[in-house]
């Protein structure tokens, strides 16, 4: 089974920064359909700082690095995304405390810990039309797989997130600002889910993993 090193995770984070920064306006526009139109800006504000700080950040362990990322989210990301992404990175960091490389099981645990933390933080459950509707099936998919080929794993979770966009499109949001427009949120994609899926698809591209996105928002 293959492992991921700190350097590899740093690289993935750097790609993530590029994705979020490039999509600032698009993600905000998506949030404007049923929410308050700030998702892209909120997230990009934080990831611009992460992009700048990443080279100099404490890399003694994966957990230490992720805790630092969490703190940047806490300081620079406003709105719901600050606590959500901050909590996610913090919980993933707690599970990887002291580790300098991780295997498939640890990766799976990190995602599981992150989504538990986010559920506890915001009270959302599956079907509330939040990014948990991507993270929960991603976690399930990771649990099903053995992780022998990282490319296969990546393509699989990208597909799960991609599908989550269309599977939740018809739902009415029950959390966050979008929940306040009631039925008006149906037939709009959840920007948080699109965000997760976009990041995973960009990872596929970056690492040369073959995956063809399906949802319209991934081919815009």
């Amino acid at each position: 089974m293959s492992t991921l090193t700190i350097a590899q995770i740093e690289e993935a984070l750097d790609v993530t920064c590029d994705t979020v920064i490039r999509n600032e306006k698009y993600f905000s526009d998506l949030d404007g359909l049923a929410g308050d139109g700030d998702f892209g800006t909120s997230l990009a504000t934080g990831f611009k700082v992460i992009k700048a700080d990443l080279p100099g950040i404490d890399k003694s362990a994966i957990g230490a690095m992720l805790l630092k990322i969490s703190m940047i989210c806490s300081k620079h990301v406003g709105g719901s995304s600050g606590p959500i992404w901050g909590t996610g990175f913090m919980r993933a960091g707690m599970v990887s405390k002291g580790l300098t490389e991780i295997g498939h099981q640890q990766l799976t645990d990190m995602v599981g810990s992150a989504l538990e933390g986010i559920m506890a933080r915001g009270g959302a459950v599956r079907g509330d039309k939040t990014l948990l509707d991507a993270l929960i099936p991603i976690h399930e998919k990771l649990q099903e797989m053995d992780g022998s080929d990282l490319g296969v794993v990546l393509a699989a979770v990208a597909q799960v997130a991609d599908q989550a966009i269309d599977e939740t499109r018809g739902l009415i949001a029950h959390r966050g600002r979008a929940s306040q427009v009631g039925a008006r949120s149906a037939n709009t994609p959840d920007p948080g889910i699109v965000g997760i899926a976009t990041i995973l698809c960009d990872w596929c591209k970056h690492y040369g993993v073959d995956y063809t996105p399906q949802a319209a928002e991934l081919n815009h």
Binding site: S80, G82, P83, G122, R175, R177, S179
Partner: protein, 331 residues
């Protein structure tokens, strides 16, 4: 865009700079965390009171800091909860042995940010309590949303708690004051136009020339219904009925009545609304012990207003009457 802005990305620090410059004797600021505090807080013998939310609701919250009001406040980007660190630093800046009361308007983003900040502060041994304000009757409570929003009624929570803290009440007592105000205050608003966030540059929702949003939220969230604009008296009746029917306001009750402008409505029109609201209150046998007409919790430049009514008892009436001072001044 018909606005006084430079780079929209700097809107919040720039107006905060203005507030700090205009109140140099009263306030200290920390722009790194979009935070302001009373110069004379923390004090070992006084509970500190903090609140913070997205920007665009001025004077809430940084212009509500001062003697007899908030001890400190922070602002997020326009309409977005402050970053967790800003909340945490705000608590820390006025932490005291007497404790900190953290007031939070009931929005998902604000609640999560303040929850995290409170956990961080408590982990460091800071004594605090958190209280959630939710006075907006427009949105009905439900098991699967975060519930009623906190809007202009929030002023009365700040004022009453501020007065209690100033008088030396302990944390449990100040918390009980917050609870009492929140249990007895109800608000509903109406928006005649959308507001325009500086960064977006245009309206956040579409509304016809002859339409209004009844029960609109202070971020332009939809309310109870989209209706044709009516005469001021008829709109006021709708707001009053929604507020009054939500609590048992009984004949003989003493109340505080507030007509709050949402940012784009001028003073004369707020008084037209007040005239009718005062008459409706009198018709219902209510005694208006105190009144408030002006801007207390805005939605950027939205044309509209909200009506808030607080049921008083002797304790609350005394707390509202206590002297206070903040960045909003006439003279």
């Amino acid at each position: 865009m018909k606005k006084f802005v430079n780079d929209p990305a700097n809107f919040v620090p720039e107006f905060m700079t203005g507030v700090l410059a205009a109140n140099a004797g009263l306030l200290d600021g920390n722009l790194e965390f979009q935070m302001v505090k009373r110069k004379d807080r923390p004090s070992p013998n006084h509970v500190s009171i903090v609140q913070g939310s997205g920007s665009g609701h001025e004077p809430a919250h940084i212009c509500a800091v001062g003697p007899g009001m908030l001890s400190a406040a922070c602002q997020g980007p326009v309409f977005a909860a402050p970053p967790v660190d800003a909340c945490y630093e705000t608590i820390k800046a006025v932490a005291t042995d007497a404790g900190v009361l953290v007031l939070v308007n009931n929005y998902q983003g604000d609640r999560m940010a303040w929850d995290m900040a409170c956990e961080m502060a408590e982990a460091e041994g800071i004594k605090l309590k958190q209280f959630i304000i939710n006075d907006d009757v427009a949105v009905q409570d439900s098991t699967w949303t975060v519930g009623r929003r906190g809007v202009a009624g929030n002023f009365f929570v700040m004022k009453a708690c501020g007065a209690a803290a100033e008088a030396g009440a302990d944390l449990d007592t100040v918390y009980a004051v917050a609870e009492k105000v929140n249990n007895n205050v109800r608000t509903m608003g109406v928006g005649l136009t959308s507001c325009i966030p500086p960064a977006k540059g245009d309206a956040i929702f579409d509304i016809g020339d002859d339409e209004m949003e009844v029960g609109v939220g202070i971020h332009g969230e939809p309310g109870r219904s989209r209706e044709k604009i009516r005469a001021a008296d008829s709109i006021t009746q709708t707001l009053f009925d929604a507020v009054q029917s939500d609590l048992p306001y009984n004949s003989g009750d003493r109340v505080a009545l507030m007509i709050n402008g949402l940012g784009g409505t001028p003073p004369a029109e707020l008084y037209v609304v007040y005239a009718k609201a005062a008459q409706l209150a009198a018709d219902a046998g209510l005694v208006i012990a105190r009144n408030y007409v002006g801007e207390y919790c805005t939605a950027l430049d939205m044309v509209g207003c909200s009506l808030t009514m607080l049921k008083l008892d002797a304790e609350l009436e005394g707390l509202l009457a206590a002297p206070a001072e903040c960045a909003v001044r006439v003279f």
